[in-house]
């Protein structure tokens, strides 16, 4: 009997090992390096870390693959830790970078990577077509296709006198209960940029007082702009602060929502571009440059404008070619708060926020 058992166990073990080996082979990832091409590039696929929503960016990267024949292996960030998760990952991988191109969905993280010396400058045709306000003068990163910070309002709240009017909404938040007002946690993503703008425009003291006051009056804080949109669309909150792309998810779902751009006291809006940069030490520089050119191209900006996320083109474009929604956004975006000089403010603001939320 013992011999039979041993034989059985040996067979079972062999089957298990064989199956495991088979699965390991099948699971092999596509991110490995390869040989070297005539251009001097590594033959392996281009690794792209992408903080822009996968639901929108996946198609752009696949179109790039189809057009150029360059294989792209994307890594997306989760909604909860949007953008900052990938920035931290690139920083942790500084000694052995895996990423070739970083497509960020905001600007502050890219500026942080630049300060850390993790980006490589590149000025191509795409760089030249973008306005100075949305790119690094030395070419370490460049912005394209932007979003606006907006108020999202549930239209059924109109009977309470709540309308999609930026000035009136801001006025409403100055006093009283805020439990039916939603905002995302400011640690990550575009809400962090929003807070950084306040830090710069108001000064630290006023921002801290405002933040404390909002929390004292019960503002609803959630895990992302998508959740803010959802709370307002479902009527759990009357209005909140989110991004245009999230607003359009609700609008396309035919939820009862309207929006107004968030404006600072001087009327300026918060316009947050996507940004792209090449990671220092990439072995696929030529491929990386081609992707950067593709993302900064007029064609891509136009495609993103027509995508469900309605991104606002930053480079020169014939407005007639844009959908009506984006024409309105395009007009509003002409008076933006400058983000390029906010590197120190972003660090200081995050240093203050981190113990507020993660003591």
């Amino acid at each position: 009997m013992h011999a039979t058992m041993t034989l059985f166990n040996l067979r079972a073990s062999a089957c298990v090992c064989g199956l495991a080996l088979f699965c390991a082979l099948l699971t092999g990832c596509d991110n490995g390096g390869g040989g070297t091409s005539s251009s001097g590039d590594d033959d392996g696929p281009l690794v792209v870390y992408c903080a822009h929503d996968a639901v929108f960016s996946e198609k752009v990267l696949r179109d790039f693959e189809d057009e150029t024949g360059i294989e792209v292996v994307p890594r997306f960030d989760t909604e909860a830790s949007k953008s900052l998760g990938l920035v931290q990952l690139i920083m942790r991988e500084r000694d052995r970078p895996r990423c070739d191109v970083f497509w960020n969905n905001e600007q502050l993280g890219m500026m942080q990577l630049q300060r850390e010396g993790l980006l490589q400058p590149y000025k191509g045709e795409g760089f030249a077509r973008m306005p100075d306000a949305y790119k690094d003068p030395d070419g370490y990163w460049c912005g394209f296709a932007a979003r606006l910070r907006v108020w999202i309002v549930n239209t059924k709240a109109a009977d309470k006198g709540i309308e999609a009017d930026a000035a009136a909404l801001w006025q409403r938040t100055q006093a009283g209960d805020l439990s039916r007002v939603a905002i995302a946690k400011p640690l990550f993503g575009t809400t962090r940029t929003h807070y950084t703008v306040f830090w710069d425009a108001w000064g630290a003291g006023k921002l801290k007082a405002w933040h404390g006051d909002w929390r004292d009056r019960g503002v609803t804080e959630v895990n992302g702009n998508g959740v803010v949109m959802n709370l307002v669309a479902r009527g759990s909150c009357d209005y909140g602060l989110t991004d245009t792309d999230d607003f359009y998810v609700a609008l396309d779902r035919k939820d009862p929502v309207a929006m107004a751009p968030f404006r600072l006291a001087d009327g300026r809006v918060i316009c947050i571009p996507n940004t792209v940069g090449i990671i220092n030490g990439t072995k696929r520089l030529e491929k990386a440059k081609r992707l950067v050119e593709y993302l900064l191209s007029r064609k891509n900006e136009k495609n993103l404008a027509w995508s469900p996320s309605r991104q606002i083109p930053l480079g020169p474009i014939d407005v007639k070619e844009l959908p009506q929604d984006v024409k309105d956004l395009y007009e509003w975006s002409k008076n933006p708060y400058p983000l390029s000089g906010l590197g120190d403010a972003a660090d200081d603001c995050l240093d203050w926020l981190t113990p507020e939320y993660a003591r």
Binding site: T27, A80, T220, N223, L350
Partner: protein, 500 residues
């Protein structure tokens, strides 16, 4: 919100959920023993296992709108989260009640002690408590400990239910704090340093449970296995004959039976069937959009492969743990402990290790994720491997194996069928459960998946923050269907192969 607050919230919630789950688990275990018909037992088994296997992300996604309505009412939202947690984890308590070693003091002795005990003096109380933890209360504490460890370390559900209403937090947990902190922290070791207190709590509960286990002297209830003093379980030579007060509860005369059935039905409806129905309705409208997103096939392939590898790894670990010789129960503890700390802690620990230069060859490969999933599944694998030995009779299995060497075809086939029923089928289903658990695990998968090797659950979980959309519902239903098809086809193929 501070880490301390997160620990206190999670601790309070986990204690309440664990206590309630242990009580309900006791009632359901009695129901299980009271049921005599095979079909009713099968129904109950499916109803119990379904909430455990239903991914937390699906439940959160399906109830997203309900959650949105509850956000302005923190108490309601906390209650909703705790209820879902309780219903999902109660089956674990049932499993412990059914499979844990029977207490050293049997029910008759406990009853005699109750009749004679004098608890009026301090010494009497101490004696009574000492007596209690050696009686059935011990199994209850074990059940509560298992549920506590899972509830305390939950992140998936907490992340979906969490919000803040001003200074009031909803569904807050230390796991959310750690998740945020590991994003913000400059290094992983910095983030790991902050989880010393939660880990200490988990280890204390784990060691307490193991200490309770060492009090065992009797037979492993329901398993047909006895446990030598401080040693490994040993199979009996004869099938265990159920009897005694525990196996013949008189539930028919009371309301307990229908009430327990009602709870089980409500739980499976609320945590499995209703979420699936809600998502499926949306999915019907989203199916047409799926062909536009063909990348999901790669994600499904990745998920399946990670799940299969982790299931095989966990089965291997359980096999090793259960082969330990007398006096080496600590090997079981060693195998189970990492998994009982929760997938978040485990994932961060694995990440902190493989990012070191020495592990350069391993970094950004599937090995990290598969290793984390294997360790996370190990306790479940050990428990299930014990349980599938129910009714196993070594002499019968041995006879069947001898028959397989027969020259005649019919006895050989009959022997194969017997071997499949007694050995192959139980192991296959344990593997299937482990595969499904790994397939739907989102936390470690998010932290450790290699670039270009995204599992489906990671992408779907990220999309879920936008709440319901038709195409997303279709993806969720597809994601749910794949393991069902794989397990179904696998069962059929293996059955045919084994028989032929």
């Amino acid at each position: 919100m501070t880490l301390e607050a997160g620990i206190w919230w999670a601790l309070g919630r986990a204690v309440v959920v664990a206590g309630l789950a242990a009580l309900i688990g006791w009632a359901v275990a009695r129901l299980w023993r009271a049921i005599k018909t095979t079909w009713a037992r099968r129904c109950l088994a499916v109803a119990l296992i379904a909430p455990l296997l239903t991914p937390a992300a699906l439940v959160g996604y399906a109830y997203g709108s309900l959650w949105a309505l509850a956000v302005p009412y923190p108490a309601l939202n906390e209650a909703l989260y705790s209820t879902v947690l309780l219903m999902r984890l109660t089956p674990v308590a049932v499993g412990v009640w059914l499979l844990a070693p029977s207490p050293p003091i049997d029910p008759a002795a406990a009853h005699a002690r109750r009749l004679s005990a004098d608890t009026s003096r301090v010494r009497g109380v101490a004696s009574f408590l000492s007596f209690l933890i050696r009686s059935r209360l011990r199994t209850g504490l074990l059940a509560a400990s298992a549920v506590f460890l899972l509830a305390f370390s939950d992140l998936e559900m907490a992340n979906l239910f969490h919000a803040s209403a001003g200074r009031t937090t909803i569904a807050y947990s230390w796991t959310i704090w750690v998740f945020d902190n590991q994003v913000l922290a400059p290094t992983l070791t910095h983030a790991l340093r902050s989880i010393v207190v939660p880990m200490a709590i988990q280890m204390a509960v784990l060691l307490g449970a193991m200490e309770l286990l060492t009090l065992t002297r009797g037979e492993w209830a329901g398993t047909g296995f006895s446990l030598r003093e401080g040693g490994a379980p040993v199979a009996p030579s004869e099938p265990r004959v159920e009897g005694g007060a525990q196996s013949t509860p008189r539930l028919g005369r009371s309301l307990a039976l229908p009430v327990t059935w009602a709870y089980v039905v409500v739980a499976v409806l609320f945590t499995s069937i209703l979420p699936l129905v809600l998502v499926s309705i949306d999915a019907l409208r989203g199916v047409a959009t799926l062909p536009k997103h063909d990348w999901y096939l790669d994600l499904l392939r990745n998920s399946v492969m990670y799940g299969v590898l982790a299931a095989i790894g966990a089965l291997g670990l359980a096999w090793v743990a259960l082969r330990v010789r007398r006096g080496r129960w600590w090997v079981v503890l060693l195998v189970c402990a990492p998994g009982l700390l929760g997938s978040l802690v485990l994932a961060l620990a694995v990440q902190a290790v493989i990012i070191q230069p020495a592990f350069d060859a391993v970094y950004d490969t599937p090995i990290g994720l598969v290793a984390a999933h294997t360790l996370w599944l190990a306790p479940v694998a050990v428990l299930l491997c014990w349980s599938v030995r129910v009714g196993r009779v070594d002499t019968s299995l041995h006879s069947a194996r001898l028959l397989r060497k027969s020259a005649a075809v019919r006895p050989r086939r009959a022997a194969r069928r017997l071997a499949w029923a007694m050995r192959g089928r139980p192991i296959f289903w344990v593997g299937a459960v482990l595969f499904v658990l790994a397939y739907f695990e989102a936390v470690a998968a998010t932290a450790l998946y290699p670039t270009g090797g995204d599992p489906m659950i990671v992408r779907v979980y990220s999309f879920m923050h936008f709440n319901q959309a038709f195409y997303l519902s279709a993806m969720v239903v597809l994601m749910m269907a794949v393991p069902v098809v794989i397990v179904g086809v696998g069962a059929w193929v293996l059955r045919v192969l084994w028989r032929e």
